[in-house]
C-alpha cells in the first residue's frame, strides 16, 4: 500500500488546505484581533542616510517583546495604550539606542529610529548571534544567525538555506524530506545537535527535523560551531543549530502555500492572538504540511531490456519515494504576571509518512517499503526576569511520545523501471525471511532549567540543566511473541546535563570571555544480547566533565579576533546503546564520543559596513567516534571505532555593492584525518594520518542578491537573487589505495539557483518563484544517490496583522 493510497481517505492536499483556509478565515475575522485597548506600534529602523536597516534587534523590556527588523527595516509590536516603555535598538555596526516611548491612547503609532554608525562594533558573517535579551552580556561565542523574515517570500527549504553558510555542509539521501546529515567544521552526524527554541529536537518529535520544518514558523536560525554556550543543554560534539520560532507580542495570521516540481506542495499557517483585559493572554497556532511525489529522474540506472532481466544503463523516475509531513502546534499562555513574565502550555503533533526508494546507495531500488512516524508532545514553560534584568530564570518540562512504524514485506525484487521479480523471501531493505515490520516506541520525559545572574556590570553567571529519561520499546510484527520474549520490557536511558558558565566583559567591553564547565551523566538499563540470545538486564552508567573557554577581543573598531577551546562529549543515544535487537545488537558499554575543539577567527569590517570579511580556523580532535559495525549481513552493533582530527578554515566576504545589491561568497576547506583505530573494527593502522574518505573537504557558496522598494509598483519590495553551491570532488574510499583515475568519486558539483520575489507594502502579501539546479546538473550527496535535477517552485503568502 502506498502512502498516497493510505492517506487518500484521511488526509489529502486539498483537505488540508481547506482546513487551513477555514482556520485562517476564522482567525483573521475574529474581532479580538482588532481590539483597540492595544496599540499597534510600527518601528522603522534607519541609518543616518535613511536606508532601512535589516536585522536590527529591538527589545521592549517592560513588555518582554523582541523583534528583528524586516527587509523594510520595520518591526511591529502590540503595546498597551497610554503606557511608557523603554526601547532598546541594536544592530551590528551601529550604536545601541535606548529610548523611552509613551504609547498614545488611540490609533496606531509609528516611529522612526535612526541609528548612528558605531566606531566600536563588530560585524558578523551573517547577522550577529544575540539571541538572548539585550541585557545579556555580549558573549564571545561566534554564532551565525540566519534571519528568515527576509526569506519567507521565497519557496526555499531550510536545508538549502543552511547549505549556503560557511563551514556547513548538508548531505541528503534524496529529494524532499529525505534524511539530512549536517556537517559543521568537520564533525557530522549525531555530533551536530538540532534545537528548537533551545530544546533538543529529539525531545519534540520527528516533525521538527530540518528536512521537514517549515520556514514559515521560524524567526531565525542560529549556528554555533565547535564551542557551544551552556544554554544549549545537551551533548553536542561539533556544533548546535538552534531554530528560533517566531516570537513577539504582535497579533497576526500568516498563511502560505507553495507548489513545485515533482508535485511538491508546501503549506503553512501561523496565527498569533492575544486576549484578556490587558491582552496578556495569548494563543499561538502553527502548522505546516509538506507533500512531494519525489518522482524526479535518476540517470544511469539499470533498465530491464528483456524478459531475462538483462539490463542496460538508462533513465527512470523514482517511484517509491512519496513523502508527506504534517505538524500542528498550539501554545497558550499568559504574560506579564508578577510570578511569571511568561507561562506557556504547548502541545504539538506531527506525522511523517514516507516511502523508501532505496538504502544508503541507489543501485537497487526498493519498490514497496513505507514508514509512518507519529509524535505527540506536551510541555509547559515558565520564564521570569528579575528587576533590571539582573537575573532571569526559565523552566521547560514536557513529555513526548514517538512511534516509528516501518513496513517492508514485499516478496519482490524491483528494478528501476518498476519491473520486478517475485522472490521467495519477504522484505527489500535487508535479508529477512518474511520481511520486517519493526515498531519503535519511545516515551520521553524531560525538564530543562536555566538560570542567569549578573554579578555586576562585568560578570554574568549562567546555569543550565537538562534531564531526560527515555523509555524505549521495540517489537517486530513479523516475529512471534515468543521470538521476541525478553525484548518486550522497556529499555531506559537517563541523561543529565549540567552546564555552568561565567561570562565577563573587560577592558571597557573590548574583551569578552566565557569560561564554562559541563557535566554529563548517563545511565542505561537494558537487556544484553549475545550471539542472538537475549541475556539478563544490565545497567551501565558513566559520568564525564567537559570544559571550555572562549574569548573575543576587539583590536580596533574594525577588527575583532575570537579564540575558543572546548572539550566536549556526545553521549551515546538509545539507538546506539540498545540497538534494535533484530539486526543491530545493543552495546551498553559504548563510550561517549569526545572532542577537543579549537576555533580561532578574525573579522574585519569597513567603517561604513559596506564590506566585511572574516576567516575562521578550526581544529577538532575527536576520539571514540561511534559507527555501526556490521560484521555480517544479519549482525551489527555500534562501536567506538576511530578517532579523527579535523583541521580547516573557512573564509567569507560580504560586499554591499550599491543600494540593495549585495554579493557574498564563502569557502571552507577541511582536512579530516584518521588518528586512531579500534581493534573492534579492523581498520588498518596504515591509514592513520590519511584523509577520511567519503567526506567533502572543499566547498563553498556564492550569492548575489538585489532588493529594493519599487515605487512604480505600489511601494512594495522586489527581490532577486542568484546563488551557487560548489562541492569539490572527493573519493569514496581511502585515497592511498588505487590509481586516482580508477576510483569511484562523488564528482565536483556546482549547482545554480535563482529566485525572484515580490513583497507588498507592509509585508501584506508576497509571491516568490525559485528555480533550483538551474543548469540541470547531475547532483549527488552520496554515491549513486542522485539529487533532483532542475526544478521550479512558486510560493504565495498572505499576512494579516501587525
Amino acid at each position: 500500500m502506498t502512502i498516497k493510497k493510505s492517506l487518500n481517505s484521511r488526509l489529502t492536499v486539498n483537505s488540508v488546505l481547506k482546513v487551513a483556509f477555514g482556520f485562517f478565515l476564522t482567525a483573521i475575522l475574529n474581532p479580538s484581533l482588532a481590539e483597540t485597548n492595544q496599540c499597534r506600534v510600527t518601528l522603522t529602523i534607519l541609518d543616518e542616510r535613511q536606508n532601512e536597516i535589516i536585522g536590527a534587534f529591538i527589545e521592549i523590556t517592560e513588555a518582554d517583546q523582541k523583534a528583528i527588523s524586516n527587509v523594510s527595516g520595520e518591526a511591529n509590536f502590540l503595546l498597551s495604550q497610554g503606557t511608557t516603555y523603554t526601547l532598546y535598538v541594536s544592530s551590528l555596526g551601529f550604536e545601541t539606542v535606548q529610548r523611552s516611548i509613551k504609547i498614545p491612547t488611540d490609533g496606531d503609532f509609528q516611529l522612526q529610529i535612526i541609528l548612528k554608525e558605531s566606531t566600536t562594533s563588530l560585524d558578523e558573517v551573517v547577522i550577529s548571534g544575540k539571541s538572548q535579551r539585550a541585557t545579556t552580556k555580549a558573549l564571545p561565542y561566534k554564532a551565525q544567525v540566519v534571519n528568515l523574515s527576509t526569506l519567507r517570500a521565497q519557496p526555499i527549504q531550510v536545508t538549502n538555506i543552511l547549505n549556503q553558510l560557511p563551514g556547513v555542509r548538508i548531505r541528503q539521501e534524496g529529494g524532499a524530506g529525505s534524511s539530512a546529515n549536517i556537517m559543521l567544521n568537520g564533525i557530522d552526524g549525531k555530533g551536530v545537535k538540532l534545537f528548537v527554541d533551545g530544546i533538543p529536537v529529539y525531545l519534540l518529535g520527528a516533525g521538527y527535523s530540518l528536512n521537514t520544518i517549515s520556514p514559515g514558523m521560524i524567526e531565525h536560525i542560529e549556528i554555533y560551531k565547535g564551542t557551544i554556550p551552556v544554554d544549549y543543554g545537551s551533548d553536542a560534539l561539533g556544533g548546535v543549530i538552534n531554530v528560533v520560532s517566531r516570537y513577539g507580542n504582535a497579533e497576526y495570521a500568516d498563511l502560505s502555500y507553495g507548489y513545485g516540481s515533482w508535485n511538491t506542495h508546501e503549506a503553512s499557517i501561523t496565527v498569533r492572538e492575544n486576549f484578556g483585559s490587558r491582552d496578556n493572554y495569548f494563543i499561538n497556532l502553527d502548522g505546516f504540511y509538506n507533500y512531494s511525489d519525489n518522482d524526479y529522474w535518476m540517470d544511469n540506472v539499470d533498465i530491464v531490456v528483456d524478459d531475462l532481466f538483462n539490463t542496460e544503463p538508462g533513465r527512470a523516475r523514482r517511484f517509491n519515494d512519496q513523502f508527506q509531513s504534517l505538524l500542528t502546534r498550539v501554545q497558550v499562555g499568559v504574560r506579564d504576571q508578577r510570578w511569571a513574565d511568561e507561562l506557556m502550555l504547548m502541545s504539538s503533533y506531527s506525522r511523517i509518512d514516507r516511502e523508501w526508494q532505496h538504502g544508503l546507495r541507489a543501485e537497487v531500488p526498493w519498490g514497496e517499503p513505507t514508514s509512518t512516524q507519529d509524535s505527540w508532545n506536551a510541555a509547559v514553560s515558565w520564564k521570569k526576569y528579575g528587576k533590571s534584568d539582573r537575573w532571569n530564570a526559565s523552566v521547560v518540562a514536557g513529555y513526548t511520545y514517538d512511534q516509528l512504524h516501518f513496513v517492508d514485506t514485499a516478496r519482490r525484487t524491483y528494478f528501476w523501471d518498476q519491473n520486478f521479480v517475485p522472490k521467495t523471501n519477504g522484505g527489500e531493505s535487508g535479508l529477512y525471511s518474511n520481511g520486517t515490520i519493526p515498531v519503535l516506541t519511545t516515551r520521553t520525559l524531560f525538564s530543562r532549567e536555566s538560570f542567569s545572574y549578573s554579578l555586576n556590570n562585568q560578570h554574568t553567571l549562567n546555569l543550565t540543566m537538562l534531564l531526560t529519561n527515555d523509555e524505549l520499546r521495540i517489537r517486530n510484527d513479523v516475529l512471534s511473541r515468543e521470538d521476541q520474549e525478553g525484548l518486550l520490557p522497556a529499555q531506559t536511558l537517563l541523561k543529565n546535563y549540567t552546564g555552568l558558565a561565567l561570562a565577563s566583559e573587560l577592558l571597557g567591553s573590548k574583551l569578552t570571555n566565557t569560561v564554562s564547565a559541563k557535566h554529563f551523566y548517563t545511565r542505561s538499563s537494558g537487556v544484553t544480547f549475545n550471539n542472538r540470545l537475549v541475556g539478563p538486564r544490565e545497567t551501565n552508567e558513566f559520568s564525564i566533565v567537559g570544559y571550555g573557554d572562549v574569548i573575543q577581543y576587539q583590536i580596533n573598531p574594525l577588527i575583532t579576533i575570537n579564540l575558543g577551546y572546548e572539550f566536549t562529549v556526545r553521549q551515546p543515544d538509545d539507538e546506539e546503546i540498545f540497538g534494535n535487537y533484530l539486526t543491530v545488537a545493543p552495546n551498553p558499554s559504548l563510550n561517549p564520543e569526545q572532542s577537543h575543539n579549537i576555533n580561532f577567527g578574525t573579522e574585519y569590517s569597513t567603517s561604513r559596513k559596506r564590506f566585511n570579511a572574516g576567516a575562521t580556523f578550526f581544529y577538532r580532535n575527536t576520539s571514540d567516534r561511534i559507527f555501526l559495525n556490521a560484521v555480517t549481513f544479519g549482525l551489527a552493533r555500534y562501536e567506538n571505532l576511530i578517532g579523527t582530527q579535523a583541521v580547516g578554515a573557512e573564509l567569507h566576504a560580504d560586499y554591499l555593492i550599491l543600494g540593495g545589491l549585495r554579493a557574498a561568497v564563502n569557502a571552507t576547506y577541511q582536512d579530516i584525518t584518521l588518528q586512531e583505530t579500534s581493534p573492534q573494527g579492523n581498520i588498518p593502522n596504515r591509514f592513520i594520518g590519511a584523509r577520511v574518505p567519503n567526506t567533502p573537504y572543499l566547498f563553498g557558496n556564492g550569492q548575489l542578491s538585489y532588493s529594493r522598494k519599487a515605487a512604480w509598483l505600489g511601494d512594495g519590495t522586489i527581490s532577486a537573487g542568484y546563488d551557487f553551491n560548489y562541492v569539490h570532488e572527493f573519493f569514496l574510499s581511502w585515497a592511498e589505495d588505487g590509481r586516482a583515475e580508477t576510483k569511484d568519486i562523488i564528482p565536483t558539483q556546482t549547482l545554480h539557483n535563482i529566485n525572484l520575489s515580490w513583497m507588498a507594502p507592509r509585508d501584506r502579501w508576497s509571491i516568490g518563484v525559485e528555480c533550483r539546479n538551474l543548469t540541470d546538473a547531475r547532483a549527488f550527496d552520496n554515491f549513486s544517490v542522485q539529487r533532483p535535477g532542475r526544478s521550479f517552485y512558486i510560493k504565495a503568502r498572505l499576512f494579516f496583522g501587525t
Binding site: F415, L628, A630, N685, V692, G700, D737
Partner: protein
C-alpha cells in the same frame, strides 16, 4: 557506476576564491596517490585483488592489479584499479578475466574485468543479478556458458564473454521451501534455499543448497546436506525454465549444508579430484550451525560416475585436526587427495566481544588428506580465514592469503614439506588468481 571528472567554469571561478585554502591544504593525502614503498618487482601472469576496510568500519573497497608471485616486497594498492569503493563479495577467474561479484548493500551484480600486461584493468561487462538476492559461487562451463544461483528458485545461465543472461533453470520441482523440518527448533520451516555453489562434472551440474529457517540470522533449516543434480544435456542455455533438466535432489544427514555466500572471497566447498570423485565440505561453521547440528565438520563424497552420496565415505575433519568442537572451513584442493583447510580454535574467541567470532584471527591452516583421512598443521599462526582463503597453487607451492592483527600477506606453502614462509606483504586482504 563510475563518474568522470569534468572541469567547469563555476569550478574555475570557485578556485579563485579557494586558492589560498588549496595552497594551505594540499598534502600527501590529496587524491593523487603517490607510488607506495613497495612497487612490484615485476608484473607476472597473476592477478591480485585486495580488500581494504573503509573508515565507516563496515564497507570494503576492492583493488585489482597484476603481480608476480615471486615478489618478496610489500605490494601496496597505489597502482591498482579500484573495482569497488565500498562493497564486494566474491572473485572468480576464468579465461584470463576476473569476475567480481557483489551483493553488498543489496545490490547484487557481477562485473567482468580484464587486465593487460601494463597493469591496466578495464571493465569488460557487467550483469545485474538482483533477482538472485545473494548469489553463490559461479561455475564456468566454457566461454559461452556459466551458471550462478542464489536465494531464488532459478539458476541463472549466462554468457561469461558477453555478460548477458541467456536462460534459467527452474529448480522449483525439488525445492523444499515451506517444508516444516522442526529444525533447529520445533515448528521451524524452510523459508529460503540458496544455491551456494555449482560444480560441473561430466554432463551434470551439482548445485549445493543452503536451506534456511531464518534469513536474518542465517539459521539452518535442514539437518543435513542437500545437492541438486541437473542434466546439462537437457539444458537449452538460451531458454528460460529448463525444469526438465532437474534430475533429483540428494540428501545426507551426516553433514550440514555446504557452501557459504562469499566465504573467504569465493572459496569453493565442493571439489573434484583427479579420479572424478566429488568431495563436499559440510563445514557446520556459520551462524551457530555447529551448536544446532551437534555434528563435526565433515567431508562427504559423491563417487565418480554416481549421483548419490557414498555411504561408506565420511571424513571427520575436526577429529583429524584440532579435535571435536573445532569446525573446519575451506576446501582448497591441491591434488592427490589433499587440500588446505582452516580449523577454528574456539579458545581464541574473545568471550567479551560478541563480534570476536567474525573479526578476530581464530583459524589455523591445516593440510587434510581426503584419502587417508589425516590432517597436519601448516601454520601455528592464527588467521582470519573467513575473509581471505582463496588460495592459488602452482609448481608445488600454495599461495595462501593471511590476515591477522592488522598484518596481511601471502603465505607461501611448500606442499611437499608444508614449510611456510611469508612471500610478500599486502595492503589489504589478498586474493591471488592465475591469468592463464
Amino acid at each position: 557506476m563510475k563518474f568522470t571528472i569534468k572541469p567547469s567554469l563555476p569550478s574555475a571561478l570557485m578556485a579563485v576564491l579557494i586558492s589560498l585554502l588549496m595552497l594551505a591544504g594540499c598534502g600527501d593525502d590529496d587524491p593523487t596517490p603517490e607510488a607506495g614503498p613497495g612497487e612490484p618487482e615485476g608484473l607476472g601472469e597473476y592477478a591480485m585483488v585486495t580488500a581494504s576496510l573503509n573508515a565507516d568500519g563496515q564497507t570494503r573497497a576492492f583493488y585489482l592489479q597484476r603481480v608476480s608471485v615471486d615478489n618478496t616486497e610489500i605490494i601496496d594498492n597505489s597502482d591498482a584499479t579500484e573495482l569497488s569503493a565500498a562493497t564486494g563479495a566474491m572473485i572468480h577467474s576464468f579465461g584470463g578475466s576476473i569476475y567480481f561479484s557483489d551483493y553488498g548493500n543489496q545490490s547484487p551484480n557481477m562485473e567482468k574485468w580484464n587486465i593487460d600486461e601494463s597493469n591496466n584493468a578495464t571493465l569488460a561487462g557487467d550483469m545485474n543479478l538482483s533477482e538472485l538476492g545473494f548469489q553463490g559461487n559461479t561455475a564456468f562451463k566454457d566461454e559461452n556458458t556459466a551458471f550462478v544461483g542464489g536465494i531464488s528458485t532459478d539458476i541463472i545461465i549466462f554468457n561469461p564473454t558477453t555478460m548477458q543472461k541467456t536462460g534459467t533453470i527452474d529448480i522449483t520441482s525439488v525445492s523444499n521451501i515451506g517444508t516444516v523440518t522442526d529444525f533447529p527448533q520445533p515448528g521451524a520451516t524452510i523459508v529460503a534455499e540458496s544455491v551456494t555453489e555449482i560444480l560441473i562434472r561430466d554432463n551434470l551440474l551439482f548445485a549445493s543448497l543452503m536451506p534456511l529457517s531464518d534469513l536474518a540470522t542465517q539459521s539452518p533449516g535442514e539437518k543435513g546436506c542437500s545437492i541438486i543434480i541437473i542434466d546439462m544435456d537437457k539444458i537449452d542455455a538460451n531458454a528460460q525454465g529448463n525444469a526438465d533438466a532437474v534430475v533429483k535432489r540428494i540428501f545426507d544427514e551426516r553433514g550440514s549444508a555446504t557452501g557459504a555466500w562469499g566465504s573467504g572471497g569465493g572459496s569453493p566447498f565442493m571439489r573434484l579430484d583427479e579420479r572424478g570423485d566429488i568431495y563436499v565440505l559440510c563445514h557446520n561453521s556459520w551462524a551457530g550451525w555447529r551448536a544446532a547440528f551437534d555434528r563435526p565438520a565433515a567431508i562427504l563424497k559423491i563417487a565418480a560416475g554416481t549421483t548419490d552420496f557414498e555411504e561408506s565415505y565420511y571424513f571427520d575433519l575436526e577429529s583429524a585436526a584440532r579435535g571435536l568442537g573445532s569446525p573446519v572451513m575451506n576446501l582448497e584442493y591441491y591434488g592427490n587427495g589433499k587440500f588446505l583447510g582452516a580449523a577454528q580454535d574456539p579458545s581464541a574467541i574473545n568471550p567479551d566481544n560478541p563480534f570476536s567470532y567474525f573479526i578476530d584471527p581464530i583459524y589455523q591452516w591445516w593440510s587434510f588428506d581426503l584419502y587417508n583421512q589425516t590432517a597436519e598443521i601448516v601454520a601455528e599462526e592464527y588467521t582470519r580465514a573467513a575473509v581471505a582463503s582463496v588460495t592459488y597453487f602452482e609448481n608445488g607451492f600454495g599461495y595462501v592469503p593471511f590476515e591477522a592483527n592488522g598484518e596481511q600477506f601471502v603465505m607461501k606453502v611448500d606442499l611437499n614439506t608444508l614449510e611456510t614462509s611469508k612471500q610478500f606483504n599486502t595492503t589489504g586482504t589478498p586474493h591471488l588468481f592465475s591469468l592463464q
